[in-house]
Amino acid sequence: MLEVDRVLRESVDEVLEKMFFIRSLGDSAGASGGPELIAHLTFEGRPAGSFTLRADVSAARSITADFLGAEDVDVADEQVGEVICELANMICGSALSRIESDFDFRLTSPVLVPAPPAVRRAAVSRAIELFNGAIAVTMNIEEPACSPAAEYAF
């Protein structure tokens, strides 16, 4: 799981820097416990599993403003939700491409959910501190049913 953990961190940093012009401030203990937005998606193929992104609302608004080149106060709630879904989509796609660059996978469209879906214990999570709050990502990779888990060499 160390490999997935490293890939996840690299993917978060890359997406934030390239598309959102944001640098992370380092690891975080997790979301602040205040209001947050949660985006969830699943992926099929090799590998298969699910991905969840949680963002403090303050961080989500700031990320959206950076993405759209607007001020925090000018972004609509609908845009914030859409951007958080896009962020989840890009981090997940980036991580999966790093994990398995030779296999096809398909992402479902991310959706906002009221609470983080349950994941198995082996899911890998990272929490990152940003200027205006924290985001946390969790990748849950299902083990293949008919081949050893070691096949993916995580």
């Binding site: 959206t64 759209l68 080149g69 896009e86 796609g93 980036s94 999966l96 491409s97 660059s101 992402l107």
Partner: protein, 128 residues
């Protein structure tokens, strides 16, 4: 240099982002059209002439792969260059889309300069 650009993505914020990046990349004066899936994109292309199409892959109704397939099968439209923008960087997917007719492929996340370079490469001329 100004171009007529069709941006196809089911995310409105992503279409806005891509348009902003192109505008900031030295393509001042360009004209933009937007569509949220491949079906809408084909409708736009039957009414408007464009220089290049930038398209996502995972979209509802008609996804990017089917859109490129339909474009390639249309004698009136098949010469329009298509650049794919996708989170999927798997080699098999990129090869398949290129075989279908995609002229360029850029993986999300990308820097603004990456998109500009891909557009210049696809359109065949440096921009002022």
């Amino acid at each position: 240099m100004a171009y007529r650009v069709l941006i196809v993505d089911d995310s409105a914020v992503m279409r806005t982002f891509v348009q902003r990046v192109i505008e900031l990349s030295g393509f001042e004066g360009s004209v933009y059209f937007q569509a949220s899936n491949g079906r809408e994109a084909l409708e736009v292309l039957r009414k408007e002439w464009v220089d290049v199409v930038l398209t996502d892959i995972n979209m509802p109704e008609v996804d990017g792969e089917e859109f490129i397939r339909r474009l390639a099968a249309d004698d009136m439209l098949k010469s329009i260059p298509v650049v794919v923008m996708s989170t999927d960087a798997t080699i098999s997917r990129i090869d398949r889309l290129r075989a279908l007719g995609a002229r360029g492929y850029i993986t999300k996340p990308f820097r603004p300069e990456d998109l500009r370079a891909e557009l210049e490469r696809t359109l065949g001329a440096p921009c002022a």
